[in-house]
């Protein structure tokens, strides 16, 4: 084992009793499906990117590679958005598209990030764009470049500039962490000596609701991620948990046991008196809204074991949605409302990530792992982030909806779980 001196910042954090984030890298492709069509693309290094502190073109390339939809082709360094490439030559080299750009520092210290995308097949320029950002947001600018390329070449919006939150446990310490969608740029929103579960993004991507056990019981808090200001949203008798924002951001659905059994209520986002939405003689929990805000999917064991049900968002008659197996929990609704990702206990006692096509009832298993938990759809509906167990640790993974491409967030020395994929925009 190597003994190295802790960098000053880490040392200070350790000395002051704060959790030090474990060493980790980005989400890395673990399993890449075969037989998929990948778009061949060249991304040249951005002019002057090295002086900016963030290797912009590398971030862009890594994003596109991770999506599994692109294959990279070598590009020369001496290019930027003003270049006039001979697209026929690029076509001959096998590239369908070409990207080049630059980073320049403005007088006020901000950075101007420019890029251009050429379609080598059609032999035309697709987009040219400039972003002016604070130096601290340069990585975000790079993710936006990747998003634009993704959208222009695949027809679907990319999620590279979105964020993911999750819980890290290291021994007796818990942290609520926010990272870029690639797993980089990890920042701690909350450090606590007590468990944290069930983080949920507000629709505007500015606040997180979560359950903290800091007062020796489950209480729902809402925290502004930028300012760190936090307030108790629900602290009623018994347990308060499973917060889910309504798509308009004005209220949240949550599970309360104030009247005895755990039931689903809605509460104004500003706090106040909860309104009861379910009245069963069983456990009702894990509510999630559909994107149109009209319906709520939730988990109930009113029929014996836990199953997924659906009801109108204001409460009312519930219909059962999951039928395969005797234990189906943790639904996440795709943005188009057509499918659910959820966890099912299968024979042999394994817990597996599944998807369910709501209209047809078609069920599909996506993983080969045994302890899958907490699925959450990316806002473009193409990826799901979830936690599972590998090498004796809780780890985070992403998968495409066909299960063909999986990435894993590499971590060491900590359990990472309870992921929630944030919305577009921040």
């Amino acid at each position: 084992m190597s003994r190295r001196v802790l960098p000053r910042r880490q040392f200070l954090a350790a000395a002051s009793g704060l959790a030090v984030l474990p060493a980790w890298a980005q989400f890395r492709v673990e399993i890449a499906g075969i037989g998929m069509r990948q778009i061949p693309l060249a991304v040249a290094s951005f002019r002057d990117e090295l002086s900016s502190g963030v290797p912009v073109s590398e971030v862009v390339r890594a994003d596109l590679l991770r999506s599994g939809l692109f294959r990279l082709i070598e590009a020369p360094d001496a290019m930027d958005e003003r270049s006039q490439p001979v697209l026929a030559d690029w076509r001959a080299r096998g590239a369908d598209a070409l990207v080049a750009g630059s980073v320049s520092r403005l007088a006020d210290g901000r950075l101007d990030v420019r890029h251009k995308l050429w379609d080598a097949v059609k032999g035309e320029e697709l987009i040219g764009r400039s972003q002016t950002v604070l130096p601290a947001d340069l990585r975000l600018a790079a993710h936006r470049v990747a998003d634009e390329i993704h959208e222009n070449l695949t027809g679907e919006r990319g999620v590279f500039s979105t964020r993911i939150t999750y819980v890290v446990q290291q021994g007796p310490r818990y942290s609520l962490v926010v990272t870029d969608a690639d797993g980089e740029n990890a920042q701690v929103a909350l450090n606590s000596p007590d468990p944290i579960i069930s983080p949920a993004w507000s629709p505007d991507g500015k606040s997180l609701a979560y359950v903290s056990f800091e007062s020796r019981k489950a209480v729902v808090w809402v925290q502004d991620t930028q300012t760190g200001q936090r307030r108790m949203l629900a602290n009623f008798r018994g347990s308060n948990s499973a917060p889910a924002w309504a798509p308009d951001g004005n209220s949240l659905a949550l599970a309360l046991s104030r009247d005895g059994l755990t039931q689903i209520y809605s509460i104004p986002a500003a706090g106040g008196e909860p309104q009861r939405l379910t009245s069963s003689r069983a456990i009702d929990t894990e509510p999630v809204y559909t994107a149109d805000g009209q319906q709520i999917y939730f988990v109930s064991d009113r029929g014996g074991g836990p199953q997924i049900y659906r009801m109108p968002a204001a409460g009312g008659r519930a219909e059962r949605v999951s039928f395969d197996g005797d234990y189906n929990i943790s639904p996440s609704v795709s943005p188009d409302g057509r499918s659910l990702a959820y966890i099912s206990r299968v024979s042999g006692g394994a817990f597996k990530l599944m998807t369910l096509e709501v209209a047809s009832g078609t069920v599909r298993t996506l993983t080969s792992t045994r302890d899958d938990e907490s699925p959450s759809f990316a806002p473009n509906g193409r990826l799901i982030v979830y936690s599972t167990r590998a090498d004796g640790r809780d780890v985070l993974m992403t998968t495409t909806l066909d299960g063909r491409i999986k990435t894993r967030l590499l971590t060491s020395g900590a359990d990472v779980r309870e992921p929630a994929w944030g919305p577009f925009g921040r």
Partner: protein, 189 residues
Amino acid sequence: MTPRTSTLLSTLALAAVLAGCSSPVKLDEPAPVESREPASAASQPGAGAGATATGTPQSQVSTVDLERQRAAEEQARLAASLPRSLYFDFDSYVVRAEDRPALEGYARLLTAQTGRKMALEGHADERGGREYNLALGQKRAEAVSSALELLGVNRSQLEAVSFGEERPADPGHDEAAWAKNRRVDLKDR
């Protein structure tokens, strides 16, 4: 009594009074605060030296009630003898028959001491979802709460809460560990 002896006594008395007066008064010390010690402590023999200072009336007689004392001792013994955790079968929130005497013991304590408050902390084993396990632990805690209420305990003395699978008593990943983790901890508040 002769006049001489009487003069001697009054001289001694005066000396005593003067001696009392001469004792220095420290003005910069805070005024004595009324003692909030329980009567039993003040009535202890030997506590008389401070009697005037603590404000106990000299004519007070404190009652020692051996019956009450014995009841308190018995309750303390009972509280110490009761199990701190009740365990549950897999996927069950039914209090086991063997835990009936423990529940009756807690009920006796809580009905005798209506100021006493307890948290009933439900727990689940690690298998399954965290939110569903939180609800399962809650249901176990509510089951213990209901059983105590049926035995006459006032609901306001109890709060059923849950930690789900977040606070295992045994960190292991086998049935032996799970059996120890499906529990309700009874804690004073």
